[in-house]
């Protein structure tokens, strides 16, 4: 899946789980915690994105994600495996 498509799904999920965040203004250099997501919301965002992309990667694979751009790149890579 392309990075743009993954980003679209990620923004959709962030909008649902963090409804007060303006997803059009999300900076790819920021971490989910910078958007105000607590640890449970961060887990829920990753699980929801994985479900929609049909990615079955262990959550532990996301332990070193630096920011949203890195998350999009990682999801793009694993969704095309």
């Amino acid at each position: 899946m392309t990075g743009a498509a993954v980003r679209r799904v990620l923004h959709e999920v962030i909008g649902e789980i963090l409804p007060t965040v303006d997803v059009d203004r999300i900076d790819g250099g920021r971490h989910l915690r910078d958007l105000g997501a607590d640890s449970i919301e961060r887990v829920e965002i990753i699980m929801a994105v994985c479900a929609r992309l049909r990615v079955t990667e262990p959550l532990a694979s996301f332990g070193d994600i630096r920011d949203i751009d890195h998350l999009v790149a990682f999801l793009s890579e694993v969704s095309t495996r």
Binding site: D38, S39, E41, V43, P58, L59, A60, G63
Partner: protein
């Protein structure tokens, strides 16, 4: 053969602070209370340590045994990530102050918040082997909290105390399903205590490991146990509870993976009863899952035998899902410990009182050669405890040897 938990008790301190008061005092975002799902946090007093917690949890169990049964405790294991010495175990002090037989194996184990379950399973295997028929084992999970304002949202979630589990062939509390377990372990740097004064933690890595391990442990359990079905096999679930909100998320994940449509209703019926006590105490580390089991028994209150599932996770990491059967005798046995009444009787601290105690507690695990501690200095807290009880207190250290004595607390 039946082997399992004959008696279960938890000691969760005599003081606590409401979590909203701690949030206000620290300037934390109150919107995060919903996902934390914690109501109060147990707070240790400066004369408490892993030894006093362990003894105060196990003493009511040991006192209820007749002398012949007490002398059949042939294995004492303390599990802790709050060791007080590199060589001498917490268990050696606990053995002394519980007055256990000298014909007893005594040791301490460590694997973060999983250690008590590992010890319990090894002890059950030993008892089931029948090498010493009628023998009992006492496993006590005991820990103190080292978090402060630097720990941010972890601070309100960390409790203090101990859970004591007596194992034997009269499993009134939990008849363990021998051989019915699933395990999952691998190395990960999610949290650790590199020194006796502070913890380090990577919240995301730890949550991810907890959740991955739950899925993998249950898969392993299902592979070993014919017909195991997450939706129908278990009347209740007791899980390691770093904070209750994580258990809700973990249940939601496993419920979705196992095709449960109404996860909220399932959570309310099978998991929420196990969170009543943990949400009023905080994380007890390896005792947490056994406080959850006590909570489940006290609030599910089964009248017929039902199967329950237990999930234990310890950073680092090691995890296990296993099961056992509880019934009306479980309700009677756990009820005799009056855990809920003791939680309600804790002295409610103000934020300023909490902050002062935290500063004094900070060096609880630091080895010192000599020190005097006067428990009666804390009379202003002890006199506000609602239920009178006798507790072991640390009175000092002499030549690196910790000293203890019994004190009375609470309004008479």
């Amino acid at each position: 053969m039946s082997i399992g938990v004959e008696a279960l008790n938890a000691y969760c301190g005599v003081a606590a602070i409401p979590v909203p008061a701690l949030f206000a005092g620290r300037g934390l975002d109150p919107e995060r209370l919903d996902n934390l799902m914690m109501r109060t946090k147990s707070v240790a007093l400066p004369f408490e340590d892993p030894v006093t917690h362990a003894v105060n949890a196990a003493k009511p169990i040991v006192d209820a045994l007749d002398p012949a049964d007490r002398d059949r405790i042939e294995l004492l294991v303390t599990s802790t990530e709050s060791g007080v010495d590199y060589s001498k175990s917490v268990a050696s002090y606990v053995h002394q102050h519980l007055g256990l037989s000298r014909r007893c194996r005594v040791l301490e184990v460590k694997q973060a918040c999983y250690a008590a379950t590992g010890a319990l399973q090894l002890a059950c295997g030993y008892l089931a082997a029948g090498l010493s028929p009628g023998a009992k084992a006492l496993v006590i999970a005991t820990d103190v909290s080292l978090v402060d304002e630097k720990s941010q949202y972890t601070e309100p979630a960390m409790g203090t105390g101990a859970a004591a589990v007596l194992l034997g062939d009269r499993p009134h509390v939990l008849d363990v399903d021998l051989g019915a377990f699933g395990v999952h372990s691998y190395e990960t740097p999610d949290s650790a205590r590199p020194a006796p004064t502070f913890d380090i933690a990577d919240a995301d890595r730890s949550l991810f490991a907890y959740l991955d391990c739950l899925t993998n442990c249950f898969a392993d359990y299902s592979a070993r146990v014919e017909g195991a079905d997450f939706a129908t096999t278990f009347a209740g679930l007791a899980m390691h509870t770093p904070f209750a909100g994580l258990v809700r998320a973990a249940h939601r994940k496993l419920a979705r993976e196992n095709g449960i449509a109404d996860t909220a209703a399932d959570f309310a019926a099978r998991v929420a009863p196990a969170l009543e006590y943990p949400s009023r105490v905080g994380n007890l580390c390896s005792g947490s899952v056994y406080l959850a089991l006590a909570s489940l028994v006290d609030h599910l209150r089964p009248t017929e035998p039902v199967r329950v599932g237990l999930y234990s996770y310890g950073s680092g990491c090691a995890a296990e899902f296993y099961s056992g059967v509880v019934d009306a005798s479980s309700v009677a046995a756990v009820g005799r410990m009056r855990i809920g009444e003791h939680l309600a009787a804790r002295c409610e601290l103000t934020f300023d009182e909490y902050r002062a105690l935290l500063a004094e507690n900070a060096d609880c695990l630091v080895p010192v050669a000599d020190r005097e501690i006067d428990p009666h200095r804390y009379a202003s807290v002890l006199d506000r405890v609602g239920l009178p009880r006798t507790l072991l207190a640390r009175t000092g250290v002499r030549g690196y040897h910790r000293r203890y004595d019994w004190i009375g607390v609470g309004a008479a």
